[in-house]
Each structure stands twice: as C-alpha cells, then as structure tokens.
Amino acid sequence: MRFSTRINGVTREIECQPGDTLFEVLRRMGLRGVKQGCDREGTCGACTVLLDGKPILSCITPAPKIAGRDLLTIEGLGDITHPHTIQTAYTDAGAVQCGYCSPGMILATKALLDETLTPTREEIAHALSGNLCRCTGYVKIFDAVRDAAATLQQEKEDNER
C-alpha cells in the first residue's frame, strides 16, 4: 500500500505491506535511530517516535497509521553538528552510556518539555515511564531533563526580551 506523510518536516511517499510496523518502515528508510530493545511488546521504549507531538512506540504501531500525519524521529531533532538542546543536555550530564535507549529517552523528553519547561520529578518519571535504560540508571537522565528544561526556559526568556 502507498500513502504520504510528513517525516521530520519533509513530505514522504511510503510504500509498505499492510502488516509492516512503523519501526520496520523507518529502519528500511535508513532512519535507524529507532531501536528494538524488547520483543515487540512495547515495554522498552527504544523505538519511541513522536506522532503529532506525542510519544508512541514504533515497534507496535502499524505503519499505515502515520498516513497524513506528522512524525518526528531522532534524526529530525538534531545531529552531531547541530544538536538539539536536549541532546546537548544528555551528553553534558553524562546521561548516555551505551546509547541504545537515548533516542527514545530524548524524544520522550522532547514531548514532556513541549508541554512544560518546569517539570516536577514526578512529571519527569511519568514522561519517561515507558523508556528503559539498562546501563546508567536514571539519575543522570533526570539531571539531563532538568538541565534541558532550564536551558530551554532561558532561551525562551531571552527570545521574549
């Protein structure tokens, strides 16, 4: 089947089988920031992407669901030469070890900080509740979220002056 959709701000024509998951389609397109860390059960969050701004799990999402919608993957957020503030905060805080969970963590953080730049600890835990980190633990990840929020808040205030 064929449909068009917006991925990372660019309209794309997608061709896929009816049973393909979004994860499979993205990987085939070369968007390999989505990772598979569980057995397509939706339990690890490594495949997280933002659909119309909300985090979803690409490994259990049928690909046709994104037809005509707006999808953001980690590749659309920033890259090594132009990292997003959240990506910078993750590296500065040492919130990345093996990096496998990082794309999902960072996109879940983006969805949270799009809603509030002053998240409480509970709100951070709630937002990241679907993302497992199997190496660092969560202390530095929480630090990174708070650092990113503070930086984005400062940028917002500076822009409003």
Partner: protein, 281 residues
C-alpha cells in the same frame, strides 16, 4: 499475516468492513504479540471521530477511541466519575502506551488484568454497539466482559455512557503492581453513597484476580445498608477470601493474590465510605 489494512474516515464504511469479516483495531498494542491469524483483514477505527469526550447534564459519553492518555488528562469530566477515570487511566502502562491504548480496545480486547473495565463496572457504564445497517444498541458493561460470545460480535463498540450520579458518591480505587508500568496483580474499584448514615448503591469491582474483571455481588450485599466500621471491613476481607475464585497466574501464587485482593478491597471500601460520609455530612 495481515492481508489488508483499511483506514476509513466514515463509520458506515468501517461497519461494512467489519460486517464483511474485517477485524477492528484501534491502538493496535496487542496486534503483533502472540500468534497472528492468517490473512487477517484489519479496519483501523481511529479516524472515525470516536475520540471525543462529551459531558451532558446527566452523563459523560466517551468515544471508544479516546486514549487512556486523553482520559488521564480529562479534567473536564466532573464529579467522582472524572476522578475515578483519571486515576484508573493514569495508573495503566506507560506514557507512550497510554497514547495508543483506547478505552474501547481495553474492553474489546479484555484481558484479566485490564484496569479500565474495573472502573467502568463500578461506574455502571453502558456500552454502545453499532452494526452495519442496524440501529445502535446499548449493553451493560458487564455483558461485554463475559467470557464466550462477544456482545459486539459483528459490530463495533462506539462509545461508553457513564451516568453522572445525582448526589455525591464516594470511591476507592486500589491497584498493586511491582513497577509503575507493570500489569496489575490485583485492582479494585468501589463506589457508594451514604444514605441516612448507611452505605447505599454499593458497587465493588475486582480485576486481575478472577478470570475477567467483574463485580462481586456477595461483597456488595454485605456492605449495602450497613455502617462501614472495623468489624465490617474485617468481614469484607474475609468475604473476598471466601468468594473470589482466583484465576491461575504464573506471576504470583493464588494465596498471595487472594490476600492482596482482600486487603486492597478493604482499603477501597474504607476510602469510598470516608469520602461519601464526608460529603454526606
């Protein structure tokens, strides 16, 4: 294998697909787990406009494809009904899963640990079912949760109507999991009002313990018309242990889950009574 994936934007088109053998899906969180049927034809029902929450004078009507994420943030649903639904929805799974799981799917694809049915049972929800070429029909939520032939077979659950009670009801909702996003080991929702100093209109629903979420008539009869005090709470615990048939489960021994259900139910009854008494007085 999935042979076809339809994504209509009109309800009658979706109903025709279902009448012709297509399986409705919404959040699709259970689609890829387990053994898939061969040549499965799917109709995605998330573009039919069934994702609205409407509050009327005497009821809240929740579209079947409202997600648990929407429900968890639905501060416009008034009274205890809103509090119960938000609390139940917020406790389920993780943020990205709540953005996918729908209320309709949580009932249609019911599993014994499903949490929203427990709240819907205690809130006396009525389920609207539509079929191609027929007028819509209404079924009590309990009919849709029974094992055996599905109450909506050949059709689609389109909405849930929950009465907004006149007067004040109290509620208690208790759930135990190992981690925040884990399946419940046991969950319970109790609603009641206090009339003349005694419990009235008592509803006790239990989930994750029996083979399906269900109300427990023996517990409701025990509490109805009585003052909830220490003796009654002990009797509630004893009654749960007596009457609740614990379904087999690899996650924890039956004795442990029976004890857990008894303790959680006793807590939920006490909370519902405290809330209803406070508002009554």
């Amino acid at each position: 294998m999935i042979a076809a994936y339809h994504q209509p934007e009109a309800l009658d088109v979706a109903l025709d697909h279902i009448a012709n053998g297509a399986t409705p899906i919404a959040g699709a969180t259970g689609l890829y787990t387990g053994r898939g049927k061969r040549d499965l034809k799917l109709v995605d029902v998330t573009r039919l406009g069934l994702d609205k929450i409407q509050v009327t004078n005497d009821a809240v009507i929740i579209g079947a494809t409202v997600t648990l994420g929407q429900l968890a943030r639905a501060t416009d649903i008034p009274t205890m009904v809103g509090a119960v639904l938000r609390k139940a929805a917020r406790g389920i799974a993780s943020t990205p899963l709540r953005n996918a799981i729908t209320l309709g799917g949580n009932v249609a694809h019911v599993v014994y640990w499903a949490d929203m049915p427990v709240a819907l049972l205690a809130l006396d929800a009525v389920v609207e079912v539509q079929r191609a070429g027929n007028a819509s029909s209404q079924r009590p939520i309990a009919d849709c949760l029974r094992e055996g032939k599905k109450a909506w077979e050949g059709g689609l659950i389109t909405s849930f109507r929950i009465p907004l009670a006149t007067g004040t009801l109290g509620f208690g909702y208790e759930r135990f999991t190992r981690t925040v996003s884990d399946y419940a080991f046991a969950s319970t929702c109790v609603t009641m009002r206090v009339d003349g100093g005694k419990a009235a209109d008592v509803r006790v629903a239990l989930g994750a313990v029996q083979s399906r979420p269900a109300r427990v008539a023996e517990l409701e009869a025990l509490i109805e018309g009585n003052v909830v005090n220490t003796e009654l709470l002990q009797a509630v615990e004893d009654k749960v242990k007596d009457v609740v048939k614990v379904a087999p489960n690899f996650r924890a021994p039956a004795d442990y889950r029976r004890e857990l259900a008894a303790v959680l139910t006793e807590r939920a009854v006490e909370k519902a009574w405290t809330w209803a008494s406070r508002e009554d007085g």
